[in-house]
Symmetry: C2
Subunit: 196 residues, 2 copies
């Protein structure tokens, strides 16, 4: 008997992640991937059923790591300003340290591939966030608005700042310096928008 070499699976995943970000799904072929991961094309099929399964697996893996990092030090019973600050800084710092994960998720979530994968929701991630908002409503900290009004205000400015930060060349002619201080400044305005 011989054991599966776990490092190979990781190498394949990481090669896929990097290649997708740099060359897109079209440019990510199994043969190039195998070469990049120092593995035979056939080896990939020992760890993944097929190409689609590999891509889904990378997505689920990245999403899990990303969501886990988002909730560190967070509790849904926190005061609104404090809790939102934890969520924002967790996300901001994580994606600043893992820009490939940011690019990958943006690309995957905006591709038709997402239809076959994203069916499985990450309820362990969503539930605390919904509970957090519900608590803040109840305590009268924030205005009473539908979830689909709350969510875009509470979080999408952060994602836009991350876009600015991570590919600055596209959005602005001069390099905008997105700093943690500016993120917190934006957060204050968001809190102002939402507070009762």
């Amino acid at each position: 008997m011989r054991q599966k070499d776990e490092t190979k699976e990781i190498a394949i995943r990481e090669a896929a992640l990097e290649m997708i970000v740099k060359e897109g799904f079209k440019g990510t072929s199994m043969q190039k991937l195998a070469k990049k991961a120092n593995v035979s094309p056939a080896t990939i099929y020992l760890y993944f059923k097929n190409r689609e399964d590999l891509l889904n697996s990378v997505y689920l893996d990245v999403r899990q790591q990303t969501n886990e990092a988002a909730l560190v030090g967070f509790d849904s019973s926190m005061p609104f300003r404090e809790g939102l600050k934890v969520l924002w800084l967790n996300r901001y710092r994580y994606f600043t340290e893992h820009p490939l994960h940011f690019f990958f998720l943006e690309q995957f979530l905006n591709s038709p591939l997402v239809e076959s994968a994203a069916r499985m929701e990450d309820k362990a991630f969503k539930r605390p966030l919904q509970q957090f908002a519900a608590n803040a409503f109840k305590r009268g900290e924030i205005v009473k608005i539908p979830f689909e009004v709350y969510w875009p205000i509470a979080f999408s400015p952060l994602y836009q700042m991350l876009r600015f930060r991570l590919h600055p060349n596209i959005h602005l002619e001069k390099q905008p310096v997105i700093t943690e201080q500016k993120v917190l400044q934006t957060l204050e305005l968001v809190v102002k928008a939402l507070q009762a």
Copy 2:
């Protein structure tokens, strides 16, 4: 001599747009595209230099239509609330009527393809928006903040609502009903965040 049949070029563009949205860049091949547009593969190369040129061309075309629609009835000297409302409703209505354009742009802008295309900025679009913000600053209507703080708050919630509206299945378990009324409700909170 014989004239070029302009309807063929349009058919190719539209087939590409639809195919990219439904099957991604990977699934959009020249041969399938030709079939869908009722044209020979070779014909595509009469109108476009190659595949990349076709994709860029579709992008620039969609972007131009999109940006043009955004500025209808808008003037950079408008009062802040009024001007922002025009911009929001223009975008909301345009993408509601042209969801394929929304999906295409999201997909293209988050793919590595954008590097080769988006170099050319649409200054005729950006300049009035920047002037509009500058005017509002000067009149003391909104708080004094850097552009990279202003922009995410002013516009990204709208885009997030469009994402909710156009592929609702992914983001929420129950169909959220994003209506114009809820968009305006969100707009009010954004104005509240930004006003001095």
